[in-house]
Symmetry: D2
Subunit: 307 residues, 4 copies
């Protein structure tokens, strides 16, 4: 791609073409607050060496949800080390859904990977700190370094998750029972619900994507996270970042990515781009239909695939 490629026009065109797919999806309903989202919203942002390009609702805020799993994994890896992290969580993809509890009982008795809820909760329990606030500050701190601005939590989503997160609570107590969760269960859940409720927009996610694409280097060229941790997170994003649609996404788009049930997708084109999409209407695997449609088109035209 030479520098005169019209990124803005291409993003706009892609967005227009893809947004009609919204009707094939449904807004997440498992957290009451998320049901309020407008399924017709659609945004896209691409961070390139030439700067940030965007289209549509790329500045509309939404909550990180599962995308936060990438951030807390990086924090845990940096603060506790690879060995400590993998003593509590595996590294294998799974054919089960993101909130499944079955494998905790039938197999390794350790969450299969840090991208499913059980694994992410186990990872959260490893983040050090004398209080929830203290622990959360480490996650917020990393995000603030990447984004260059303070981050905020959506209080109503946070409360909604905390009150109705029965399934995550079940996962956390099960983990506690099998010695898979450090410290107090409710405190860890509190931390998990907070990180899920951090507000971002597409432009932010594209920035995070670029930070990962450059192996942990910040906007100003200073290393924020070790290249090893970034490589690890990227590998997980390929094998398990798109819930149990990860395999299909690898074939169709072919980049490390992580989606969240609020409709965001964070994408990494190693060495080249950070990319992000937003669209609250989800397919039955929990991924944004408009987002996947846009990423497929971008991948084809901009030759994203690492395969």
């Amino acid at each position: 791609m030479n520098s005169v490629f019209d990124y803005s026009g291409f993003l706009e065109e892609t967005l227009q073409e893809s947004r009609k797919h919204a009707e094939r999806g449904q807004v997440a309903s498992y957290i009451p607050e998320l049901k309020k989202a407008d399924p017709r919203m659609a945004g896209v942002a691409l961070m390139t060496p030439q700067g940030l390009f965007e289209a549509g609702d790329s500045r509309v805020d939404f909550t990180l949800q599962s995308i936060s799993k990438v951030i807390s994994l990086l924090v845990a890896l940096e603060q506790r080390g690879v060995e400590a992290v993998f003593s509590k969580v595996g590294s294998e993809p799974t054919g089960d859904s993101f909130n499944s509890i079955v494998k905790l009982e039938t197999s390794e008795q350790k969450p299969l990977n840090p991208m499913i809820n059980a694994g992410a909760i186990a990872v959260c329990s490893l983040i050090p700190g004398s209080s929830v606030e203290d622990r959360f500050a480490r996650i917020a701190d990393l995000l603030e370094k990447i984004l260059g601005r303070p981050v905020e939590v959506d209080e109503s989503v946070y409360k909604s998750e905390k009150e109705t997160g029965h399934r995550n609570r079940a996962l956390a107590y099960f983990l506690k029972d099998i010695n898979g969760l450090e410290g107090d269960v409710e405190e860890v859940l509190d931390l998990y619900f907070r990180q899920c409720s951090i507000l971002v927009n597409c432009a932010d996610l594209a920035r995070i994507g670029m930070f990962l694409a450059t192996k942990g280097i910040g906007d100003d060229g200073t290393p924020i996270v070790s290249a090893k941790a970034v490589r690890l997170a990227s590998a997980f994003m390929v094998t398990c970042g798109m819930y149990n649609g990860s395999g299909e996404f690898a074939i169709q788009v072919g980049i490390p990515a992580k989606s969240g049930v609020s409709g965001g997708i964070l994408g990494v084109v190693p060495g080249q781009y950070g990319v992000a999409t937003f669209g609250p209407a989800l397919d039955r695997k929990g991924n944004s239909v408009v987002g996947i449609s846009m990423l497929r088109r971008l991948s084809e035209v901009l030759d994203f695939s690492i395969f």
Copy 2:
């Protein structure tokens, strides 16, 4: 059996012969308080039309644990009716262990039966009352009518279960998530932990067994519970009363029975006897090894089997 049969001598002899098997078992460890039990204890009691016969540690108190599931099932059936109970719990045995969570996710999304922990917790949630105390009073009340004396809770076991019952907490929150538990999760768990911590001895259990053997008639001849509820409970005790050792027990002993991890077993010989054993050393399925050994011998000599 004619009335001159020497029940006392036979029970004593059976106990002496069976108690050596204690060494093949292990005291339950999943609740810290239970670990303190003496694995060498052994008791047996037989309630007959001629009165109560007993041997060994038949007056040593232990906590009801899973045996309480029979009592709260009777209460729920009487207070809420058959239909309400079976809207929250199934009636099928399972090859999974008593604290398994797998089937909640993979199959009917309803606990398979009221004798596994998930099912018993769902049943507890159906017991009416304005507070935990009020709800617990209904369970205690039924027991007091059967036993003719007030019942007590072992406070240290109750606290121990409440603090360390992570797996039961996981089951309860999972049930809440799938709309399988009425009301507040922590209140239902509180009720469940209380009923598990009620103190009884073999003589008590033999009395409860006789009450079931006579289809719900109390010592003084007055009906306490409907015959229909008793029949239902008895059928569950045959198909699922001995955890996933129920099938083998049906073959070897052949009576409705319910065991608890503190080492007690409640047995019912329909129309004839109530029988109970105690021995804290458990086999790997969670049943008292000395208890099963004694019940096998009693069944052979006194022709217990309903098959």
Copy 3:
């Protein structure tokens, strides 16, 4: 019940009342030949000390299907002994369906009981003989002793099962892989398909029921099978005889029983009656809807329940 009770009238009345339920069920479709059955057929037979009473299509022949599992279990127990049988098959009920393969992989690596297909195939592999014909003769021989007449195989059903029994073939090869099946897989399957294809009618099944109700005594008073083997088979019929509807059946009818997908149910009222029903329309668990309806009524009026 005194001897002047009008069994014939009662059976006729019960049949008329229950047959309308046929429309709630569906004829088995997993073997092409079975699809041809008329869903409106209904028969019932009751063997009493006063003789045989029957109503409806009680002399219409159908194939034994899963009911044959009881017969081959008796043969294997008598020929090989209890220990040999339980080295290849467990004794626990299961919440999974009759043709499930999951537990073979995830749990004991041994079929949970001899009433599910995997367990029955394992039991078949234990029946001795130098050829399929020779082995089958042992099963036929037991039936002929009970019924006092030669038995026949429905050749078209047998062929149909053999050609389309892919699931049973999968179970058998899986068993072979985990060392759970003696001898040649295809020969064992051949034996299994033959026993499933034996022709009987309600009158026959009521006779078999009475033979079990009297602990293995033939019509002429001579013992055919040991009381121990019968007790074992009866216990299995209670805990797992009605597929994963066994628990509900224990509550509603309360007797040892075994159903088959061709629509027959064999029932045993210990010490009292043999009972049998026929009706090809099945509920979603594989049990005859008309049969279960009739047995519920019979149980209520004639007080069948062992609980």
Copy 4:
């Protein structure tokens, strides 16, 4: 890497360092013929634009085993098209082992991906031809085009697999039962066992790796397979190529790869290299311990990782 890098020396050094790890693994035992392999053998080959470099037992022949799944997937994709292939097989990784049957029953009723045995058997059933020989010729033909020489089957391994492949037979009949396998089961299994028994060595596999690294271009520069099919196969190799050790391999080595139980690993460094290792001692997930050790070192030094 400039052209004066001493590949030969580096491979030799890597091999010497890694071969000691053989003692941590075990030769595959599930096919009797495979048990005969010498666990101390070790070979490595690297195909570069500068030519082929190799060390150790790189010319010792072994059977393709699961590596053949990549080849038959390419054939099926080319001959039948993407849609036909994905009607019979999914594209998601799984946390279950390669020969697991559980998910066929509990989830999608379609093998999760073409790299597990069930999926590969389903793919084989799609390869067209009027006979097994004819169908096999299509697989052999592709290999011969890539390798520039005729391929041979190890007859004793083939016979051994055919006689003792009970688990694969179970998978195939289960697939047939759920309409997941086209045509005759035994013929498809025959084809599958043949492709598993094709003889190759490390030099061959490195050539195949280079063919994939160049998106389907042969040695002489002519396209043999479409770039789309290669991309698809590569994505599968990353998410599921190393059995349920694929996630860890992605983190530690980071390239598309496929291992076989005879001890071979085929690796692809997109756009750069084909790489292959051999070492019959396997870890408990079924991957060559020496092979993985060598690939980790090669990845570090030659910067293989796509993440």
